[in-house]
């Protein structure tokens, strides 16, 4: 039986899932081969939302190219911008004021929570439960309101600039973040009541989509999909940037390797982000929010690489500079692309309904995969 899976035989049906399909959350095109309800093969076809962001960045200056990266993984745009800003700072050799560092980390963690909230709702919607989506949006909206007040936008903020952050935090920022923490803590057990503890949900998630630690490493999975398989890969712990090495938080590891483990990693990660925010929100140091930088940034000749932990996994920025005002070459390492590559391996032999659940647990953001 196992050998048959993966080989096309008579009675197999090929179905196009996407590019317009309710479960792909974007323009992902999956060509799946099924026999009855059993999936034999999944081929992701990409390119529907390719905007050649890497090429675009080559003609933009080091200040300008950061905003484009928020259009890649739009759910963790702050963290993408953060990676670019860090990479440019590495080349410029500037010291970032500690206030800016704390603000950046706070924004990163708020973004991570917002991203996981949306994932949680969309994941439940993939499984056919509509109500959690709206419940998740209640908390996510309050984060968006905080972002709107401080950064001026709700989704693509462009708040991180080389040398710090663009504007100082809004006077209401601390109060509203505390309000949000209170709201989140009062509602977080509803998530368990509504979805996590539900017997139907557990049966849908447990034991399906198994990804062994070896496979997770060989497919290059990072973030929650890898940590769900027990692979320690949190960049915040392994290669700490900003002030993450001074903070107390746990790297969430689950050893199940199935969809439920990946689900639990994200849900528990939200609590860790809250923990980080609680440590920092009352301890924002005074000082400048931006280091003094030249009006026109010029990176020295060389290659620079910086990686950060986005909500989806490891995001890397690789800049080759020829010494000019624009990068010679930019390469982004997006987490979604590698995570998607493991989908075929995970999904073979399971049912059609599981495909949707597994895509949900991978938390695919298609513009991030295609760039």
């Amino acid at each position: 039986m196992i050998e048959e899976i993966g080989r096309t035989t008579e009675g197999d049906v090929m179905i196009n899932v996407g590019p317009q399909h309710p479960a792909t959350h974007g323009v992902l095109h999956l060509v799946i081969t099924i026999n009855g309800e059993t999936i034999k093969k999944v081929e992701p076809h990409l390119g529907f939302i390719h905007r050649s962001i890497e090429k675009m960045c080559e003609s933009l200056s080091y200040r300008q190219f950061i905003y484009v990266t928020s259009r890649m993984d739009y759910l963790s745009s702050h963290i993408n911008n953060h990676a670019c800003a860090l990479c440019v700072e590495k080349g410029l050799q500037v010291e970032i004021p500690s206030r800016a560092q704390v603000i950046r980390v706070l924004m990163d963690e708020l973004t991570r929570i917002a991203s996981h909230e949306l994932w949680w709702g969309a994941m439940a919607m993939d499984l056919g439960a509509f109500t959690p989506f709206f419940h998740a949006f209640r908390e996510r909206e309050s984060i968006n309101d905080i972002m709107e007040e401080t950064c001026g936008a709700r989704l693509t903020m462009n708040y991180m600039v080389p040398g710090g952050v663009m504007q100082d935090i809004h006077p209401n920022f601390q109060r509203r973040v505390k309000d949000f923490i209170r709201l989140y803590k009062s509602k977080v057990n509803e998530y368990d009541e509504l979805v996590t503890g539900n017997i139907i949900f557990q049966n849908r998630m447990k034991g399906v989509g198994y990804l062994s630690p070896e496979d997770a490493i060989s497919y290059g999975c990072t973030g929650p999909p890898a940590r769900g398989s027990g692979v320690s890969c949190d960049i915040r712990k392994l290669y700490p940037y900003e002030i993450y090495d001074q903070l107390e938080f746990d790297e969430i590891l689950e050893t199940g390797g199935d969809s439920f483990a990946r689900y639990m990693v994200r849900v528990r990660e939200m609590n860790q982000s809250i923990r980080i925010i609680e440590q920092l929100i009352d301890n924002i140091p005074e000082g400048d929010f931006q280091a003094k930088t030249k009006a026109v940034l010029k990176l020295p000749k060389g290659e620079f690489y910086q990686r950060v932990e986005t909500a989806r996994g490891e995001f890397g920025v690789y800049i080759v500079s020829e010494g000019g005002t624009t990068p010679y070459r930019i390469k982004f390492r997006s987490p979604g692309f590698s995570n998607l590559s493991a989908l075929d391996h995970m999904v073979r032999g399971s049912k059609l309904g599981d495909l949707v659940a597994m895509m949900g647990t991978l938390d695919l953001v298609i513009p991030d995969i295609d760039r």
């Binding site: 933009l60 200056s61 200040r63 300008q64 190219f65 905003y67 484009v68 109500t131 209640r138 909206e141 709107e148 007040e149 401080t150 950064c151 001026g152 936008a153 693509t156 462009n158 600039v161 663009m166 504007q167 809004h170 509803e190 009541e193 509504l194 979805v195 503890g197 539900n198 017997i199 139907i200 557990q202």
Partner: protein, 158 residues
């Protein structure tokens, strides 16, 4: 024992379902938890934060004077070519020729609200407005000239 395990399974399953049902019943009966905003109806009470990035506007004071020197810092800072500054030469009072702003052309349809032009402006002549209802019937309406007709540069702004 098999039967005991079976019955336990059924009951724990039903209990988990009942917990979920209790939560949705709570929200069904407690309408004060509703967070929906009735958007077009609440236009008067809708308060956007002052930093909200809606569109670029040029500030004019009551004498119809602005602070733009036409230095093109914003034009250079813009990643998308949204801003186009057209300058002219004014004859100043002492007879010298002076570069001044003729037209500040702003393409709203290209703008990504990244705030870089506002940061780049040395004289704080432009800022982000809180308007966000940008839909129009024709694309050409989105190309705007930000300096008002007849406006001049404020005295003392270099």
């Amino acid at each position: 024992m098999f039967i005991v395990k079976y019955i336990k399974e059924v009951f724990s399953g039903l209990k988990s379902l009942a917990i979920g049902l209790r939560l949705t019943l709570y929200y069904f009966t407690h309408h004060k938890e509703i967070i929906t905003q009735q958007y077009p109806d609440n236009r008067e009470t809708l308060n956007l934060p002052e930093r909200f990035k809606g569109e670029v506007v040029m500030l004019h004071d009551e004498n119809n004077e602005h602070a733009c020197t036409g230095c093109t810092a914003c034009e250079l800072a813009c990643p998308n070519g949204t801003i186009k500054i057209i300058t002219k030469f004014d004859i100043a009072t002492d007879g010298k020729k002076k570069k001044a702003l003729d037209k500040f052309v702003y393409h709203l349809e290209l703008c990504t609200m990244c705030n870089l032009c506002i940061v780049a402006c040395p004289t704080d002549a432009i800022k982000m407005a809180q308007t966000f209802e940008h839909s129009v019937y024709d694309r050409s309406e989105l190309t705007k000239i930000l300096n008002k007709p007849g406006s001049e540069i404020r005295e003392g702004v270099e």
